[in-house]
């Protein structure tokens, strides 16, 4: 433990991790769909093992401005959960949640809008994590959400740094969704390395032989 090789985890359990992303995001989308009372589609989730240099290109370049709700996760699984959405999509999402009371236009988000965004993020990431908790029978305690609106590169540096302490790559499960009104967003689950072993172990998969050198 402690020194599990990311490349091997990614190669061997690609489909399992993808399915985890699928289940989590599926439940999160159901929650969002109920909240907004509209149909939401989801793309097939992707499991990505990225070099740090590639992280910026993940969602339209390092300077793409995104709204991001982040929760840190504690319990049996530790790591971070992020819900990222482009600012124009965030505005439409907030407007739907606030039933038209949001400020129109490109002005800065008001306190109320930010709070609404944070709560939406909280509810849907909560749904995501709950479904994974019941699937794996592991305890997952999310922290209160933190919201920031900034460049994608700057936001993604946070999980990248966490991984930087362990290796030169970032392993993440990414799910993308959209609805009729073009709300494009991403869920990113970034468990710590040990947590990958625990997630896979709880599903009856052995992670023996994944440790050590390449």
């Amino acid at each position: 433990m402690g020194n599990i090789n990311l490349q091997k985890v990614s190669d061997a359990y690609f489909d399992v991790l993808k399915e985890i992303g699928n289940i989590g995001a599926g439940n999160a989308m159901t929650a969002l769909s109920q909240m907004l009372q509209c149909k939401i589609d989801m793309r097939v989730p992707q499991v990505k093992l990225l070099n740090f240099q590639e992280v910026g290109a993940l969602m339209g370049g390092e300077e793409q401005i995104m709204a991001c709700v982040m929760l840190s996760v504690e319990g049996d699984i530790t790591g971070n959960m992020m819900f990222m959405i482009e600012t124009s999509s965030a505005r439409r999402l907030i407007n739907k949640v606030m039933m038209g009371y949001a400020q129109p236009g490109e002005a800065e988000f008001s306190e109320m809008e930010l709070s609404a965004m944070k709560e939406v993020g909280n509810i849907i990431t909560g749904a995501y994590l709950n479904s994974i908790a019941s699937l794996t029978n592991l305890k997952i305690y999310p922290s209160p959400p933190a919201l920031t609106i900034d460049m994608a590169g700057a936001i993604l540096s946070v999980p990248a740094i966490e991984f930087g302490a362990l290796g030169d790559k970032l392993l993440l499960i990414q799910s993308q969704f959209f609805d009729e009104a073009r709300i494009d967003g991403y869920f990113i689950l970034i468990p710590d390395l040990d947590s990958y072993a625990r997630i896979l172990g709880s599903l009856g998969l052995s992670v023996e032989g994944l440790s050590g050198e390449e």
Partner: protein, 163 residues
């Protein structure tokens, strides 16, 4: 024609005027820009973590990732091109706290620790820091022009400025 060379995350590069160096979307990472005005050489390193010595992992071969090894490597690369360490000056940007996360997570401290580590490494190498724009809670895009030593900083919802 001058060119702006892109430096990625955990990456470094050097250039000569009129070219410049840029790194996009610095969050908790720190962009350390070095310049030798006499040899007319500039360098930029995008540091992710404070200290290579606190991490024992053979998978980590990239010197640019850490403050200590990244700055040392950048100095070495510049010296190869004829720069002198005694003439070098530094400017820092980044090291933000992107999320105000509660709990025992160390996410909030990384930016500060990175900045401090960079200051310390530069002090040990005898390179003085002319200016810095670090901390706070927003991401920065930086462009460094070795010609003038200007370090341009752009952030979301703020006017671009030069340190």
């Amino acid at each position: 024609m001058s060119e702006i060379i892109k430096v990625g995350m955990a990456d470094l590069n050097i250039c000569q005027p009129p070219d410049g160096l840029t790194t996009l979307g610095l969050g908790s990472c720190v962009g350390v820009a070095l310049r030798d005005p006499v040899a007319r050489i500039g360098g930029l390193v995008h540091v992710m973590l404070p200290d290579s010595k606190s991490i024992h992992n053979s998978q980590s071969m990239n010197p640019a990732k850490f403050a200590d090894t990244g700055i040392a490597e950048l100095v070495r690369r510049m010296e190869q091109k004829g720069a002198k360490r005694s003439r070098m000056t530094a400017k820092l940007a980044g090291g933000a706290t992107m999320f105000a996360v509660s709990g025992k997570s160390e996410v909030g401290l990384v930016g500060q620790r990175n900045t401090q580590a960079c200051r310390q490494c530069l002090a040990e190498l005898g390179i003085s820091i002319l200016a810095e724009d670090t901390g706070a809670n927003y991401g920065r895009t930086v462009i460094f022009y070795p010609e003038s030593g200007e370090y341009q900083i752009r952030a979301v919802g703020r006017d671009s400025y030069i340190i």
